[in-house]
Assembly symmetry: C2
Amino acid sequence: MTGLERLSLNQATTKLWTLEEAVRGCVEAEIPAIGLWREHLQEAGVERAAGIVRDAGLAVSSLCRGGFFTASAAAGRTRALEDNRRAVEEAAMVGAPVLVLVCGGLPPGSRDLDGARAQVLDSIRELAPYASEHGVRLGIEPLHPMFCADRAVVSTLGQALDLAEQFPEEQVGVVVDTYHVWWDPDVWVQIARAGSRITGFQLADWVLPLPADVLLGRGHVGDGHIDIARFASAVDGAGYGGFVEVEIFNERIWQTAGAETVRTVVERFLAHVGRR
Amino acid sequence: MTGLERLSLNQATTKLWTLEEAVRGCVEAEIPAIGLWREHLQEAGVERAAGIVRDAGLAVSSLCRGGFFTASAAAGRTRALEDNRRAVEEAAMVGAPVLVLVCGGLPPGSRDLDGARAQVLDSIRELAPYASEHGVRLGIEPLHPMFCADRAVVSTLGQALDLAEQFPEEQVGVVVDTYHVWWDPDVWVQIARAGSRITGFQLADWVLPLPADVLLGRGHVGDGHIDIARFASAVDGAGYGGFVEVEIFNERIWQTAGAETVRTVVERFLAHVGRR
């Protein structure tokens, strides 16, 4: 027992590594799983990527990402759905059990949040059966409310569950990312409610000050304000037994050598999440 | 009827103006009320400031701000309460019906969000009777979740109401600021629930990109992603009939001549909030 049996390295954490480098980094650090990103699959070629991961004996915890469903015109929504079908196919090819959905913000110039939220529901309604046929579960990820206008009109775990519960459990679940939901006074109740809808669990810490690009402000587990251990217990307590991805977007961390980042990821995982 | 009967200029919008300049600016623009800040009162001297506002015939819509209750040690919490009692006294002196509370973030080094939230409740419990004796209502303002760690552990209108409802309605209400709550899927239900607990209504728009200091990223009404008109209707529909403050923190707007800013505030108010 290394204590790392449930750790997965999300590729975003070592963004500058190629797929091969990330796979090798996981193997060397005894990390048994990887969370893949489509951009890295496309660099490597999807089939080749699938082979590289499989040959290394790594599990795939998720594929990031589908979504961005919202658009001002029907043509844009159709294009988004087509792209999401490709994402589903890629998830199936690489053996990712879940496609993580970042649902999209307000269409350009729109202030119609209800309308955008309705578009998200409609799109998931179209995509879910297709994903199901491919053996891929959709994971709705609520994003921090500071991304509501431009990236995701799904802002809380409760709202993600309201969407997910309109579909069979095996088709649509939710992804809990500590960075996005830690502030929510209702989060513990919603994690318990989520139960077996939880199809992904991602870790990053909230560090201050936020950088100019708030997308890139996440910290290593333990460097910030989030009680990560409490989240790990709550998610397990709700019945989740899957991989725990560490997914950190941070320009400074990206400029650090990948092997050093992985060492920090492992150390912090053992210290804050521990053997579970 | 100018259509401006319910408009109030929050001093934060014209931060570089002295109190005298802001008061003159309101009078010249036929804005009948002003939202005051303690820092400007202290510059002018509180009694003198009260006279300047009164002599100009302006109403005071609120005093910003009390709060910042959270601290790691008892001494810090006691100091915060003392400062809040001074704020209550100043609100009474200038005729502000409400003291706006920005409740405070996590104490340094703490990850105990529940604990910080309990501190906020305890502090309001101590402060509310004192405020009531002075004829000042406390207004709990939920802040955008991106300020949860450093400025306010009260992040949603629902959470603010859960706090406020533990006190008599005339002692503790809530302040609805469009910038902080616009993303919340539950906000319309919570505004209706708030009803006569609404003791302040503030406008600013959500504009992108966020600046390096996310405190200063607010836009003029109409420049961003928020359906301000819908908020104005909802708040009125809940029974609120008080002043509508425009409160914009934005470095670029601060560098604009105050009179020009006030012209924009008036134009946008008429266009998006209108005669009501």
